[in-house]
């Protein structure tokens, strides 16, 4: 109960901080009746808060699903190489001359992520069965392969492109509009829905593939649905805002620790806590000297000590 209250407080705090933090003093402006304050709130702060929440929620949900699928608490949304595939797609787009936040760049980044997903699924399947160890290995190998490609590609891009690429790579939420948040929401729901429908089966899957199979679950179908849903969620977020680490790894672990391993509760709490956490990290990013750092650069910096403190108190 105390932890659920803390979650609700975190959500409220995240909301207030995200809407109130930034170079323009929105709260003062609202109090004095300045019409600009409303515009800043509606067109800048609110879309950014919504998008940050959706991205954090999607990454946490994807991380929860992949940790169960791979039966490994160290799994995160990027473990199967989706992020590096998307990053390679983004770089290809820049090298082809597209602007960093164009629809073409988004599509190429998504395509890069999707191609990696397909490759991991193809290499991880033997005799019609998805072998999670092979998938994990394939993901690690593809990560290394794309990292090399990216390093090679970076030596050929212009320094101005390099700067925007690095900004994107670190996870950038500052350029999101209300329209982007509106596009993101239904796509993320589409990716999350299959996971939310499979909570009971995933509970049994925790006992292992063979036990799940003997309990009447179509294990291969379950694995495919979880893998493609989690990968879709990850590829969408990476293509849109870049690579935001830490959220999808730590939030599901913390939720399991606090609320247990039932996937109905895990998915609900991971979604809320993941969303709140990224909104808070994005708000914190605006406090740093120089202002508005990429959210991906501060998630671990802000989150790691906070989560370590909580874990330490919990043991």
């Amino acid at each position: 109960m105390r932890r659920t209250l803390l979650l609700i407080l975190l959500l409220l705090l995240a909301c207030l901080l995200s809407l109130g933090t930034g170079p323009y003093p929105v709260l003062d402006g609202l109090r004095s009746g300045d019409p600009t304050a409303w515009k800043v709130l509606i067109y800048l702060r609110l879309p950014r808060a919504i998008a940050a929440f959706l991205v954090g929620a999607a990454l946490s949900l994807a991380g929860s699903g992949l940790q169960t699928l791979l039966r490994n608490p160290l799994a995160d949304p990027f473990v199967l190489g989706v992020s590096s595939g998307a990053a390679a797609g983004m770089l290809a787009s820049l090298m082809l001359g597209f602007s960093p936040y164009s629809i073409s760049t988004f599509l190429l980044a998504f395509l890069g992520g999707a191609l990696t997903v397909w490759s991991v699924a193809f290499m991880g399947t033997t005799r019609g069965r998805m072998d999670t160890t092979r998938m994990l290995l394939s993901g690690v190998i593809l990560n290394a392969f794309f990292a090399s490609l990216i390093l090679m590609g970076l030596s050929y891009v212009h320094h101005r492109q390099l700067s925007s690429y690095m900004h994107w790579m670190m996870g950038n939420l500052s350029d999101l509009s209300l329209g982007t948040a509106g596009t993101l929401a239904p796509l993320l729901i589409l990716g999350a829905l299959p996971l939310l429908l499979l909570t009971r089966q995933l509970d049994v899957f925790l006992l292992g593939e063979e036990t799940a199979s003997s309990s009447g679950i179509s294990v291969e179908r379950l694995k495919r649905v979880v893998f493609f849903s989690a990968s879709f969620l990850t590829a969408m977020t990476v293509a849109l805002v870049g690579i935001i680490g830490f959220v999808g790894l730590i939030v599901p672990n913390l939720c399991r620790r606090w609320w247990g391993s039932s996937h109905t509760v895990l998915f609900a709490t991971s979604t809320l806590l993941g969303g709140a956490f990224l909104v808070l990290a994005d708000s914190a990013a605006r406090f740093f000297p120089g202002g508005d750092l990429p959210a991906g650069a501060v998630t671990a910096l802000v989150g790691a000590p906070f989560f370590l403190m909580l874990l330490g108190r919990d043991t």
Binding site: D203, V204, L206, S213, S214, S215, I217, S261
Partner: protein, 262 residues
């Protein structure tokens, strides 16, 4: 409910057959043991019957119905498989794990009913696990974990139990408890198939014992009178055996050259 296996062949890797052209009938209402040397295909045979694995060739019938024609969940309500051990990647309490045994009875979005809760409580009580219900499975002893695995299977209230090495990693006290539990479950009308290396405990709980070697059935010992036929065991394990008579049946053990009688 009886099992019938017709010409069943299975291998994990192409060209390496584990179960070879196996024909076997497992009668209903009995405790049937499966014994054999390491790598004989005992656990694989149990997994084939549990529908965890699918035969490469041949067919398996449950009460005259080919397994493939029975809905997965309906099958799981009738047949429960208890593995040797479970490795859990995340914390799970004893009660949570036993609750998962009810999965075959649950429709996708229906809440856990009163009947489901009663079945879980009954399974916990039968295996004397009530006081451990809030304990993480990772924190209970090996013997208690075996009981948790069995309780999870019993929560589904199956007619057939497939037990893979239920006596391994247990001290004699807990082995005795497990053997008595198997007899009591048989007393309630269940068909039970037990894979074990512990020949003497198989003697005590089984009515039939199937001897497997290199994926083939070499003997089907039907009735307790057949069990102590030393030649069958010596041929099965390729070693000489000693025999003694205990109060609850014969005892056999491999003869160890060079050892002295106490």
């Amino acid at each position: 409910m009886s099992f019938l296996l017709e010409h069943v062949t299975f291998g994990y890797v192409p060209g390496q057959t584990i179960v070879k052209d196996l024909n076997l009938e497992v009668p209903a209402g009995k405790v049937t043991g499966i014994a054999g040397p390491n790598g004989a295909g005992k656990s694989t045979l149990l997994k084939l019957m549990a529908r965890v694995l699918k035969p490469d060739e041949g067919r398996i019938f449950l009460s005259d119905h080919p397994l493939g024609t029975i809905h997965r969940k309906a099958y799981a309500r009738m047949v429960a498989w208890v593995p040797q051990e479970l490795l859990l990647p995340f914390p799970l309490t004893v009660e949570d794990m036993v609750r998962l045994g009810r999965y075959p009875h649950l429709s996708p979005f229906a809440p856990f009913s009163k009947r489901d809760r009663e079945a879980v409580d009954e399974a916990l009580s039968q295996l004397e696990l009530i006081r451990y219900r809030r304990t993480p499975v990772q924190n209970v002893s090996g013997g208690e974990r075996k009981r948790v695995l069995l309780a999870r299977a019993l929560a589904a209230d199956p007619e057939i139990l497939l037990l893979d090495e239920p006596f391994t990693h247990l001290d004699p006290h807990h082995q005795r408890h497990m053997a008595e539990k198997i007899l009591s479950l048989h007393g309630s009308g269940r068909t039970i198939i037990v894979v074990s290396h512990d020949v003497n405990l198989l003697f005590r709980v089984c009515q039939d014992i199937v001897l497997l070697k290199e994926g083939r059935m070499v003997e089907h010992l039907q009735g307790k009178g057949e069990f102590s036929r030393l030649q069958a065991w010596e041929d099965l394990f390729d070693c000489p055996f000693d025999r003694a008579d205990g109060l609850t049946g014969p005892l056999i053990a491999p003869r160890v050259d060079g050892s002295e009688a106490p």
